[in-house]
Amino acid sequence: MSVKIKGFCCNYTASVGVEALKQAGLVPEDFDMVRLPCTGRLEVQDLLEAFEKGADAVFVAGCMIDTCHNMSGSKRAAKRVGYAKKIIQELGMDQGLVEMFFVGRGETGPVVEAVREMVSRAEAADS
């Protein structure tokens, strides 16, 4: 079964585009990523709506805590991911289906790893 993964990243994470990653076979076809100016702008509502629109798992890839371009953007994003975890748990979902990853600037490898991790969590939750 193919799982649908939705990611959000900031302008400074993952230098390679999603299409290129798909063409290289590094991420599944059913992966979509939204690039934001800063993950600190992401709201809990955006994470919940990603599930409502069909994502099986959702993640955020933001800057390393101490190197965030906007000082505390990724820290804020992590807190909102935490609140989204609480809400999906109240809905009877596995709270691991939404996750925050801290990624070095311009590094694509950790984002690919994040996608694979979320695929594995979504498959486990579905089994």
Binding site: E43, Q45, L48, E49, E90, L91, M93
Partner: protein
């Protein structure tokens, strides 16, 4: 301000069981300031309910709106018209807003989205603490500005009780004994004589024990 918190999503889903079209109605008063029921929280609650209903295989149509306040009649005036196309209105105001809608907006099926908890202050981002019980008979001038009604677990008028140890309350070592603090404060102010005065037995009728309270100011009446 009035402090409130979101009800658990499952409780809200039970409450709106059978509702096909819902208006989630926020309030930009106290509940927006304490991050429980303003515009942002209306968005989060709506998204959570849409997701929950979608997972139940019973999709729901939800619209979002926020009023300046839900405790003043002028802001509620448009509500009966706004709400006529909805099966229910989930208010994210405090209990005052929900009651006021139920009283004044005929035909509106209003439901509470929040649990209203206390009158409190904002200690830091994300942390609120009770400071006032709204008892209607303020004694703060006698207690160094610290409220024994709201902040003493036993609401003692003449404390501390025997359970105060090392300045902490017996209910929880993280809770300061407010009577210990009152004592320190009055000693610092050289007002220790106050500590020897026995406060009379309280008349709790002003605290709502005499039924719902009403305040009138003749000069402001229409």
């Amino acid at each position: 301000m009035i402090i409130a918190e979101r009800k658990p999503v499952n409780e809200l889903l039970d409450m709106i069981s059978g509702v096909k079209k819902l208006l989630v109605l926020g309030c930009r008063g106290c509940v927006a300031i304490c991050s429980a029921g303003g515009d942002k929280e209306v968005g989060i609650i709506s998204a959570a309910l849409r997701l929950g209903r979608s997972r139940m295989g019973e999709p729901i149509e939800i619209e979002e709106a926020t009023l300046v306040r839900q405790c003043d009649p002028e802001y509620l005036e448009p509500l009966p018209d706004m709400a006529k196309d909805y099966d229910a209105v989930l208010s994210t105001a405090c209990g005052v807003g929900v009651n006021f809608i139920a009283d004044r907006c005929e035909g509106v099926n209003v439901l509470p989205g929040l649990n209203t908890t206390f009158y409190g202050a904002n200690l830091s981002s994300g942390e609120w603490i009770e400071m006032c019980a709204g008892c209607g008979s303020c004694v703060l001038h006698l207690t160094g500005g610290l409220c024994p009604v709201a902040r003493c677990a036993k609401s003692l008028s003449n404390g501390p009780c025997g359970g105060s140890t090392g300045g902490k309350c017996e209910i929880n070592p993280s809770v300061p004994c407010v009577w210990h603090r009152i004592y320190d404060k009055l000693m610092d102010r050289k007002e220790e004589k106050r500590l020897q005065e026995i406060m009379p037995i309280r008349d709790w009728t002003t605290a709502g024990h005499g039924g719902p309270r009403r305040r009138l100011r003749e000069d402001l009446l229409p």
